[in-house]
Symmetry: C2
Subunit: 247 residues, 2 copies
Protein backbone atom coordinates (compact mmCIF):
# COMPACT_ATOMS: atom_id res chain seq x y z
CA UNK A 1 0.00 0.00 0.00
CA UNK A 2 2.81 2.33 0.80
CA UNK A 3 4.20 1.23 -2.48
CA UNK A 4 1.13 2.65 -4.13
CA UNK A 5 1.57 5.95 -2.37
CA UNK A 6 5.22 6.15 -3.30
CA UNK A 7 4.53 5.23 -6.89
CA UNK A 8 1.85 7.84 -7.11
CA UNK A 9 4.20 10.44 -5.60
CA UNK A 10 6.76 9.56 -8.22
CA UNK A 11 4.25 9.76 -11.00
CA UNK A 12 3.32 13.20 -9.77
CA UNK A 13 6.92 14.21 -10.13
CA UNK A 14 7.67 16.56 -13.04
CA UNK A 15 9.18 14.49 -15.78
CA UNK A 16 10.75 11.63 -13.87
CA UNK A 17 10.34 8.43 -15.75
CA UNK A 18 10.51 6.28 -12.66
CA UNK A 19 13.49 5.55 -10.41
CA UNK A 20 14.18 8.26 -7.83
CA UNK A 21 17.19 6.70 -6.15
CA UNK A 22 15.79 6.79 -2.66
CA UNK A 23 19.07 5.81 -1.11
CA UNK A 24 20.78 9.00 -2.28
CA UNK A 25 17.88 11.10 -1.11
CA UNK A 26 17.72 9.48 2.30
CA UNK A 27 21.48 9.67 2.62
CA UNK A 28 21.59 13.36 1.88
CA UNK A 29 18.63 14.28 4.05
CA UNK A 30 19.91 12.30 6.98
CA UNK A 31 23.40 13.68 6.60
CA UNK A 32 22.04 17.20 6.50
CA UNK A 33 20.09 16.58 9.69
CA UNK A 34 23.20 15.28 11.40
CA UNK A 35 25.53 18.00 10.21
CA UNK A 36 23.09 20.73 11.10
CA UNK A 37 22.69 19.26 14.55
CA UNK A 38 18.97 18.67 14.28
CA UNK A 39 19.82 15.09 15.00
CA UNK A 40 22.00 15.68 18.06
CA UNK A 41 25.17 13.67 18.74
CA UNK A 42 24.38 10.46 20.52
CA UNK A 43 20.80 10.35 19.31
CA UNK A 44 19.58 6.89 18.49
CA UNK A 45 18.65 6.16 14.93
CA UNK A 46 16.21 3.41 14.11
CA UNK A 47 15.67 2.21 10.61
CA UNK A 48 11.94 2.22 11.00
CA UNK A 49 11.92 5.72 12.44
CA UNK A 50 13.80 6.96 9.41
CA UNK A 51 11.37 5.14 7.16
CA UNK A 52 8.47 6.79 8.94
CA UNK A 53 10.04 10.21 8.62
CA UNK A 54 11.32 10.04 5.08
CA UNK A 55 8.73 7.78 3.56
CA UNK A 56 10.72 5.13 1.83
CA UNK A 57 11.17 1.51 2.69
CA UNK A 58 13.73 -0.18 4.86
CA UNK A 59 15.98 -1.43 2.09
CA UNK A 60 17.17 1.93 0.76
CA UNK A 61 17.20 3.40 4.26
CA UNK A 62 19.38 0.55 5.29
CA UNK A 63 21.80 1.28 2.48
CA UNK A 64 21.95 4.94 3.37
CA UNK A 65 22.61 4.15 7.02
CA UNK A 66 25.29 1.71 6.00
CA UNK A 67 27.05 4.42 4.09
CA UNK A 68 26.69 6.98 6.84
CA UNK A 69 28.07 4.41 9.22
CA UNK A 70 31.12 3.73 7.16
CA UNK A 71 31.79 7.40 6.62
CA UNK A 72 31.61 8.04 10.33
CA UNK A 73 28.46 10.12 10.62
CA UNK A 74 26.77 7.42 12.63
CA UNK A 75 28.41 4.90 14.90
CA UNK A 76 27.29 1.57 16.25
CA UNK A 77 26.58 1.52 19.93
CA UNK A 78 26.82 -2.25 19.54
CA UNK A 79 25.25 -3.34 22.77
CA UNK A 80 24.47 -7.02 22.66
CA UNK A 81 24.22 -8.79 19.36
CA UNK A 82 22.59 -6.11 17.25
CA UNK A 83 24.41 -3.02 16.35
CA UNK A 84 22.20 -0.10 17.20
CA UNK A 85 23.14 3.07 15.49
CA UNK A 86 23.62 6.47 17.06
CA UNK A 87 24.70 9.81 15.70
CA UNK A 88 28.46 9.89 16.18
CA UNK A 89 29.33 11.87 19.32
CA UNK A 90 31.59 14.89 19.03
CA UNK A 91 34.64 14.33 21.20
CA UNK A 92 37.94 16.09 21.50
CA UNK A 93 39.93 13.06 20.42
CA UNK A 94 37.76 12.40 17.41
CA UNK A 95 37.85 16.04 16.40
CA UNK A 96 41.61 16.12 16.56
CA UNK A 97 41.94 12.98 14.47
CA UNK A 98 39.47 14.28 11.93
CA UNK A 99 41.29 17.59 11.53
CA UNK A 100 44.68 15.93 11.20
CA UNK A 101 43.47 13.44 8.60
CA UNK A 102 41.85 16.12 6.51
CA UNK A 103 45.00 18.19 6.87
CA UNK A 104 47.18 15.45 5.48
CA UNK A 105 44.72 14.62 2.72
CA UNK A 106 44.57 18.25 1.67
CA UNK A 107 48.32 18.36 2.07
CA UNK A 108 48.53 15.84 -0.73
CA UNK A 109 46.19 17.99 -2.77
CA UNK A 110 48.31 21.07 -2.18
CA UNK A 111 51.44 19.18 -3.13
CA UNK A 112 49.92 18.16 -6.42
CA UNK A 113 48.50 21.60 -7.05
CA UNK A 114 51.91 23.18 -6.55
CA UNK A 115 53.39 20.68 -8.99
CA UNK A 116 51.11 21.82 -11.80
CA UNK A 117 52.40 23.77 -14.80
CA UNK A 118 52.66 27.50 -14.20
CA UNK A 119 49.59 28.48 -16.17
CA UNK A 120 47.12 26.39 -14.23
CA UNK A 121 48.81 27.28 -10.99
CA UNK A 122 48.34 30.96 -11.70
CA UNK A 123 44.69 30.34 -12.37
CA UNK A 124 44.21 28.53 -9.10
CA UNK A 125 46.17 31.13 -7.20
CA UNK A 126 44.02 33.92 -8.55
CA UNK A 127 40.92 32.10 -7.40
CA UNK A 128 42.42 31.41 -3.98
CA UNK A 129 43.48 35.01 -3.51
CA UNK A 130 40.02 36.26 -4.30
CA UNK A 131 38.38 33.86 -1.87
CA UNK A 132 40.83 34.64 0.89
CA UNK A 133 40.39 38.37 0.42
CA UNK A 134 36.65 38.00 0.81
CA UNK A 135 37.25 35.84 3.82
CA UNK A 136 39.38 38.58 5.36
CA UNK A 137 36.65 41.13 4.82
CA UNK A 138 34.05 38.80 6.25
CA UNK A 139 36.29 38.23 9.25
CA UNK A 140 36.45 41.93 10.11
CA UNK A 141 32.70 42.39 10.27
CA UNK A 142 31.85 39.58 12.60
CA UNK A 143 28.64 38.05 11.43
CA UNK A 144 27.13 35.48 9.12
CA UNK A 145 29.11 32.41 10.18
CA UNK A 146 27.39 30.49 7.42
CA UNK A 147 29.03 32.67 4.82
CA UNK A 148 32.38 32.12 6.49
CA UNK A 149 31.98 28.35 6.38
CA UNK A 150 31.14 28.51 2.77
CA UNK A 151 34.12 30.64 1.90
CA UNK A 152 36.55 28.50 3.85
CA UNK A 153 35.06 25.43 2.26
CA UNK A 154 35.45 26.92 -1.19
CA UNK A 155 39.01 27.92 -0.45
CA UNK A 156 40.03 24.42 0.45
CA UNK A 157 38.07 22.90 -2.39
CA UNK A 158 39.76 25.23 -4.83
CA UNK A 159 43.12 23.51 -4.61
CA UNK A 160 41.85 19.99 -3.95
CA UNK A 161 39.01 19.41 -6.35
CA UNK A 162 40.84 20.66 -9.39
CA UNK A 163 43.74 18.36 -8.90
CA UNK A 164 42.56 15.34 -6.97
CA UNK A 165 41.61 12.01 -8.48
CA UNK A 166 38.29 10.38 -7.73
CA UNK A 167 39.47 8.64 -4.59
CA UNK A 168 40.90 11.71 -2.92
CA UNK A 169 37.85 13.70 -3.88
CA UNK A 170 35.48 11.19 -2.45
CA UNK A 171 37.45 11.10 0.80
CA UNK A 172 37.45 14.85 0.96
CA UNK A 173 33.74 15.05 0.29
CA UNK A 174 32.95 12.62 3.03
CA UNK A 175 35.28 14.16 5.61
CA UNK A 176 34.61 17.84 5.16
CA UNK A 177 30.98 17.70 6.35
CA UNK A 178 32.15 15.95 9.48
CA UNK A 179 34.56 18.77 10.12
CA UNK A 180 31.63 21.08 9.67
CA UNK A 181 29.85 19.39 12.56
CA UNK A 182 32.63 20.45 14.89
CA UNK A 183 32.95 23.91 13.48
CA UNK A 184 29.24 24.60 13.74
CA UNK A 185 29.24 23.55 17.35
CA UNK A 186 31.77 26.18 18.34
CA UNK A 187 31.18 28.87 15.77
CA UNK A 188 31.22 31.97 17.85
CA UNK A 189 34.45 31.08 19.59
CA UNK A 190 36.21 29.79 16.50
CA UNK A 191 35.24 32.93 14.64
CA UNK A 192 37.75 34.93 16.65
CA UNK A 193 40.62 32.94 15.25
CA UNK A 194 39.72 33.77 11.68
CA UNK A 195 42.45 36.38 11.10
CA UNK A 196 45.05 33.76 11.98
CA UNK A 197 43.48 31.39 9.49
CA UNK A 198 43.53 34.04 6.81
CA UNK A 199 47.25 34.58 7.39
CA UNK A 200 47.90 30.87 7.17
CA UNK A 201 45.99 30.78 3.92
CA UNK A 202 48.36 33.42 2.56
CA UNK A 203 51.26 31.08 3.18
CA UNK A 204 49.47 28.33 1.27
CA UNK A 205 48.81 30.61 -1.65
CA UNK A 206 52.38 31.83 -1.76
CA UNK A 207 53.77 28.30 -1.78
CA UNK A 208 51.47 27.16 -4.56
CA UNK A 209 52.26 30.28 -6.55
CA UNK A 210 55.99 29.65 -6.40
CA UNK A 211 55.56 25.98 -7.20
CA UNK A 212 56.97 24.91 -3.85
CA UNK A 213 55.18 21.59 -3.47
CA UNK A 214 56.61 20.57 -0.12
CA UNK A 215 56.09 24.07 1.21
CA UNK A 216 52.47 24.08 0.12
CA UNK A 217 51.91 20.72 1.74
CA UNK A 218 53.53 21.88 4.96
CA UNK A 219 51.51 25.09 4.99
CA UNK A 220 48.23 23.24 4.62
CA UNK A 221 49.12 20.71 7.26
CA UNK A 222 50.17 23.47 9.62
CA UNK A 223 46.90 25.27 9.02
CA UNK A 224 44.94 22.19 10.01
CA UNK A 225 47.19 21.27 12.88
CA UNK A 226 46.71 24.73 14.32
CA UNK A 227 42.99 24.49 13.76
CA UNK A 228 43.00 21.19 15.63
CA UNK A 229 44.82 22.88 18.46
CA UNK A 230 42.36 25.74 18.55
CA UNK A 231 39.45 23.32 18.57
CA UNK A 232 41.04 21.28 21.33
CA UNK A 233 41.55 24.26 23.58
CA UNK A 234 38.01 25.44 22.94
CA UNK A 235 36.61 22.04 23.76
CA UNK A 236 38.63 21.54 26.90
CA UNK A 237 37.59 24.99 28.00
CA UNK A 238 33.89 24.62 27.30
CA UNK A 239 33.48 20.91 27.81
CA UNK A 240 32.48 18.38 25.24
CA UNK A 241 29.15 19.70 24.14
CA UNK A 242 28.40 16.84 21.87
CA UNK A 243 29.19 13.75 23.84
CA UNK A 244 25.99 13.22 25.74
CA UNK A 245 23.09 11.14 24.66
CA UNK A 246 19.64 12.59 24.36
CA UNK A 247 17.41 9.58 24.26
Amino acid sequence: MQQTIARRARAGSPIENGRVDSVARVYQELRALIVSGQLPPGARISERAVVARMGSSRTPVRSALHRLHQEGFVASASRGGDQRLIVTPLTQKDGRELFLIVGHLEGLGAFEAASLPTARRRQIVRHLRQLNRTLGVEARRKRSPTRVFELDEQFHRAFVDDVAGPRLQSLHHSFKPQIERYVRLYVNILLDTLPTSVKEHEAIIAAIESGDAKGAQRAVETNWRNAAGRLASVISEHGERGSWHFT
Copy 2:
Protein backbone atom coordinates in the same frame (compact mmCIF):
# COMPACT_ATOMS: atom_id res chain seq x y z
CA MET B 1 12.84 -22.64 2.23
CA GLN B 2 16.33 -21.44 1.76
CA GLN B 3 15.81 -19.81 5.07
CA THR B 4 15.29 -23.21 6.61
CA ILE B 5 18.47 -24.49 5.10
CA ALA B 6 20.41 -21.52 6.36
CA ARG B 7 18.96 -21.86 9.83
CA ARG B 8 19.84 -25.51 9.92
CA ALA B 9 23.37 -24.71 8.80
CA ARG B 10 23.65 -22.22 11.59
CA ALA B 11 22.38 -24.67 14.14
CA GLY B 12 24.99 -27.12 12.97
CA SER B 13 27.61 -24.50 13.72
CA PRO B 14 29.69 -25.17 16.83
CA ILE B 15 28.37 -22.96 19.57
CA GLU B 16 26.77 -20.12 17.62
CA ASN B 17 23.58 -19.02 19.24
CA GLY B 18 22.11 -17.55 16.10
CA ARG B 19 23.06 -14.53 13.97
CA VAL B 20 26.02 -15.12 11.67
CA ASP B 21 26.32 -11.63 10.20
CA SER B 22 26.15 -12.68 6.60
CA VAL B 23 27.14 -9.24 5.40
CA ALA B 24 30.56 -9.47 7.04
CA ARG B 25 31.11 -12.94 5.66
CA VAL B 26 30.09 -12.00 2.15
CA TYR B 27 32.14 -8.83 2.36
CA GLN B 28 35.27 -10.65 3.38
CA GLU B 29 34.89 -13.51 0.92
CA LEU B 30 34.22 -11.18 -1.95
CA ARG B 31 37.07 -8.90 -1.00
CA ALA B 32 39.41 -11.85 -0.81
CA LEU B 33 38.32 -12.97 -4.26
CA ILE B 34 38.97 -9.51 -5.66
CA VAL B 35 42.31 -8.97 -3.95
CA SER B 36 43.57 -12.39 -4.95
CA GLY B 37 42.55 -11.72 -8.52
CA GLN B 38 40.18 -14.66 -8.78
CA LEU B 39 37.62 -12.05 -9.67
CA PRO B 40 39.59 -10.23 -12.34
CA PRO B 41 39.52 -6.45 -12.73
CA GLY B 42 36.61 -5.37 -14.87
CA ALA B 43 34.58 -8.47 -14.17
CA ARG B 44 30.91 -7.79 -13.79
CA ILE B 45 29.37 -8.52 -10.45
CA SER B 46 25.70 -9.28 -10.20
CA GLU B 47 23.93 -9.43 -6.90
CA ARG B 48 22.15 -12.59 -7.84
CA ALA B 49 25.35 -14.27 -8.98
CA VAL B 50 26.94 -13.54 -5.64
CA VAL B 51 23.87 -14.90 -3.89
CA ALA B 52 24.10 -18.05 -5.94
CA ARG B 53 27.76 -18.46 -5.12
CA MET B 54 27.79 -17.56 -1.45
CA GLY B 55 24.36 -18.78 -0.46
CA SER B 56 22.81 -15.86 1.28
CA SER B 57 20.03 -13.56 0.19
CA ARG B 58 20.16 -10.34 -1.73
CA THR B 59 19.83 -8.00 1.21
CA PRO B 60 23.11 -8.79 2.97
CA VAL B 61 24.86 -9.22 -0.36
CA ARG B 62 23.62 -5.81 -1.29
CA SER B 63 25.08 -4.33 1.89
CA ALA B 64 28.41 -6.00 1.32
CA LEU B 65 28.54 -4.74 -2.25
CA HIS B 66 27.64 -1.28 -1.08
CA ARG B 67 30.58 -1.29 1.26
CA LEU B 68 32.98 -2.67 -1.32
CA HIS B 69 31.75 -0.01 -3.67
CA GLN B 70 32.40 2.82 -1.26
CA GLU B 71 35.82 1.49 -0.37
CA GLY B 72 36.74 1.29 -4.01
CA PHE B 73 37.03 -2.44 -4.56
CA VAL B 74 34.13 -2.37 -6.97
CA ALA B 75 33.05 0.48 -9.20
CA SER B 76 29.81 1.32 -10.88
CA ALA B 77 29.84 1.06 -14.62
CA SER B 78 26.68 3.15 -14.41
CA ARG B 79 25.31 2.45 -17.83
CA GLY B 80 21.80 3.76 -18.05
CA GLY B 81 19.75 4.22 -14.94
CA ASP B 82 21.02 1.29 -12.92
CA GLN B 83 24.49 1.20 -11.60
CA ARG B 84 25.97 -2.11 -12.59
CA LEU B 85 28.97 -3.09 -10.59
CA ILE B 86 32.34 -4.26 -11.84
CA VAL B 87 35.56 -5.13 -10.11
CA THR B 88 37.55 -1.90 -10.08
CA PRO B 89 40.05 -1.94 -12.92
CA LEU B 90 43.73 -1.53 -12.13
CA THR B 91 45.00 1.51 -13.96
CA GLN B 92 48.17 3.51 -13.72
CA LYS B 93 46.39 6.66 -12.60
CA ASP B 94 44.39 4.89 -9.95
CA GLY B 95 47.44 3.06 -8.67
CA ARG B 96 49.36 6.28 -8.36
CA GLU B 97 46.57 7.99 -6.47
CA LEU B 98 46.16 5.02 -4.18
CA PHE B 99 49.84 4.90 -3.33
CA LEU B 100 50.04 8.63 -2.69
CA ILE B 101 46.98 8.65 -0.45
CA VAL B 102 48.24 5.77 1.61
CA GLY B 103 51.61 7.47 1.78
CA HIS B 104 50.14 10.62 3.23
CA LEU B 105 47.89 8.73 5.60
CA GLU B 106 50.81 6.72 6.88
CA GLY B 107 52.82 9.94 6.96
CA LEU B 108 50.40 11.17 9.57
CA GLY B 109 50.85 7.92 11.47
CA ALA B 110 54.62 8.26 11.36
CA PHE B 111 54.41 11.85 12.53
CA GLU B 112 52.39 10.81 15.53
CA ALA B 113 54.60 7.83 16.22
CA ALA B 114 57.69 10.01 16.25
CA SER B 115 55.95 12.35 18.67
CA LEU B 116 55.47 9.63 21.25
CA PRO B 117 57.44 9.55 24.50
CA THR B 118 60.87 7.97 24.22
CA ALA B 119 59.98 4.69 25.87
CA ARG B 120 57.20 3.72 23.50
CA ARG B 121 59.19 4.98 20.55
CA ARG B 122 62.06 2.69 21.46
CA GLN B 123 59.64 -0.20 21.65
CA ILE B 124 58.25 0.53 18.21
CA VAL B 125 61.69 1.06 16.75
CA ARG B 126 62.87 -2.30 18.03
CA HIS B 127 59.92 -3.98 16.39
CA LEU B 128 60.48 -2.10 13.14
CA ARG B 129 64.17 -2.96 13.03
CA GLN B 130 63.46 -6.62 13.49
CA LEU B 131 60.88 -6.67 10.72
CA ASN B 132 63.08 -4.74 8.34
CA ARG B 133 66.02 -7.02 9.03
CA THR B 134 63.92 -10.05 8.16
CA LEU B 135 62.72 -8.25 5.09
CA GLY B 136 66.30 -7.66 4.02
CA VAL B 137 67.11 -11.34 4.40
CA GLU B 138 64.00 -12.33 2.51
CA ALA B 139 64.98 -9.89 -0.23
CA ARG B 140 68.34 -11.53 -0.81
CA ARG B 141 66.94 -14.99 -1.37
CA LYS B 142 64.37 -14.18 -3.99
CA ARG B 143 61.32 -16.25 -3.37
CA SER B 144 58.08 -16.44 -1.39
CA PRO B 145 56.55 -13.13 -2.42
CA THR B 146 53.71 -13.85 -0.04
CA ARG B 147 56.08 -13.69 2.88
CA VAL B 148 57.44 -10.40 1.60
CA PHE B 149 53.98 -8.87 1.38
CA GLU B 150 53.26 -9.94 4.86
CA LEU B 151 56.46 -8.47 6.24
CA ASP B 152 56.02 -5.17 4.46
CA GLU B 153 52.44 -5.04 5.62
CA GLN B 154 53.52 -5.70 9.20
CA PHE B 155 56.22 -3.06 8.97
CA HIS B 156 53.79 -0.37 7.97
CA ARG B 157 51.18 -1.50 10.43
CA ALA B 158 53.73 -1.36 13.21
CA PHE B 159 53.90 2.40 13.31
CA VAL B 160 50.32 3.11 12.23
CA ASP B 161 48.13 0.77 14.22
CA ASP B 162 49.73 1.51 17.55
CA VAL B 163 49.23 5.21 17.25
CA ALA B 164 46.26 5.82 14.99
CA GLY B 165 42.75 6.58 16.11
CA PRO B 166 39.81 4.56 14.86
CA ARG B 167 39.25 6.66 11.76
CA LEU B 168 42.81 6.49 10.52
CA GLN B 169 42.92 2.79 11.24
CA SER B 170 39.77 2.11 9.34
CA LEU B 171 41.05 4.08 6.36
CA HIS B 172 44.32 2.22 6.47
CA HIS B 173 42.57 -1.12 6.69
CA SER B 174 40.44 -0.39 3.70
CA PHE B 175 43.22 1.02 1.55
CA LYS B 176 46.00 -1.44 2.17
CA PRO B 177 44.25 -4.41 0.52
CA GLN B 178 43.71 -2.29 -2.55
CA ILE B 179 47.41 -1.59 -2.67
CA GLU B 180 47.89 -5.32 -2.42
CA ARG B 181 45.93 -5.78 -5.64
CA TYR B 182 48.49 -3.75 -7.52
CA VAL B 183 51.45 -5.31 -5.82
CA ARG B 184 50.25 -8.83 -6.49
CA LEU B 185 49.81 -8.05 -10.13
CA TYR B 186 53.43 -7.12 -10.62
CA VAL B 187 55.15 -9.15 -7.95
CA ASN B 188 58.11 -10.53 -9.78
CA ILE B 189 59.13 -7.19 -11.18
CA LEU B 190 58.51 -5.25 -8.00
CA LEU B 191 60.50 -7.78 -6.05
CA ASP B 192 63.70 -6.47 -7.63
CA THR B 193 63.24 -3.09 -6.02
CA LEU B 194 63.10 -4.54 -2.54
CA PRO B 195 66.60 -3.53 -1.46
CA THR B 196 65.71 0.10 -2.18
CA SER B 197 62.61 -0.24 -0.08
CA VAL B 198 64.61 -1.72 2.77
CA LYS B 199 66.95 1.26 2.68
CA GLU B 200 64.03 3.67 2.72
CA HIS B 201 62.64 1.83 5.70
CA GLU B 202 65.89 2.48 7.51
CA ALA B 203 65.37 6.19 7.09
CA ILE B 204 61.89 5.88 8.57
CA ILE B 205 63.19 3.97 11.54
CA ALA B 206 65.97 6.46 12.18
CA ALA B 207 63.60 9.41 12.11
CA ILE B 208 61.15 7.78 14.50
CA GLU B 209 63.99 6.79 16.79
CA SER B 210 65.29 10.32 17.07
CA GLY B 211 61.81 11.74 17.53
CA ASP B 212 61.97 13.71 14.31
CA ALA B 213 58.28 13.85 13.49
CA LYS B 214 58.52 15.84 10.27
CA GLY B 215 61.45 13.73 9.14
CA ALA B 216 59.55 10.52 9.78
CA GLN B 217 56.57 11.81 7.88
CA ARG B 218 58.76 12.87 4.96
CA ALA B 219 60.54 9.54 4.93
CA VAL B 220 57.29 7.59 4.75
CA GLU B 221 55.87 9.81 2.07
CA THR B 222 59.04 9.50 0.06
CA ASN B 223 58.93 5.74 0.38
CA TRP B 224 55.43 5.65 -1.06
CA ARG B 225 56.07 8.26 -3.69
CA ASN B 226 59.01 6.21 -4.92
CA ALA B 227 56.91 3.06 -4.83
CA ALA B 228 54.29 4.86 -6.92
CA GLY B 229 57.00 5.80 -9.38
CA ARG B 230 58.28 2.25 -9.58
CA LEU B 231 54.77 0.94 -10.12
CA ALA B 232 54.12 3.53 -12.81
CA SER B 233 57.21 2.62 -14.75
CA VAL B 234 56.43 -1.06 -14.47
CA ILE B 235 52.90 -0.52 -15.69
CA SER B 236 53.85 1.70 -18.59
CA GLU B 237 56.45 -0.86 -19.58
CA HIS B 238 54.23 -3.90 -19.35
CA GLY B 239 50.90 -2.36 -20.17
CA GLU B 240 47.91 -2.12 -17.92
CA ARG B 241 47.27 -5.74 -17.16
CA GLY B 242 44.18 -5.06 -15.17
CA SER B 243 42.15 -2.75 -17.30
CA TRP B 244 40.42 -5.16 -19.61
CA HIS B 245 37.10 -6.71 -19.02
CA PHE B 246 36.66 -10.44 -18.94
CA THR B 247 32.97 -10.92 -19.17
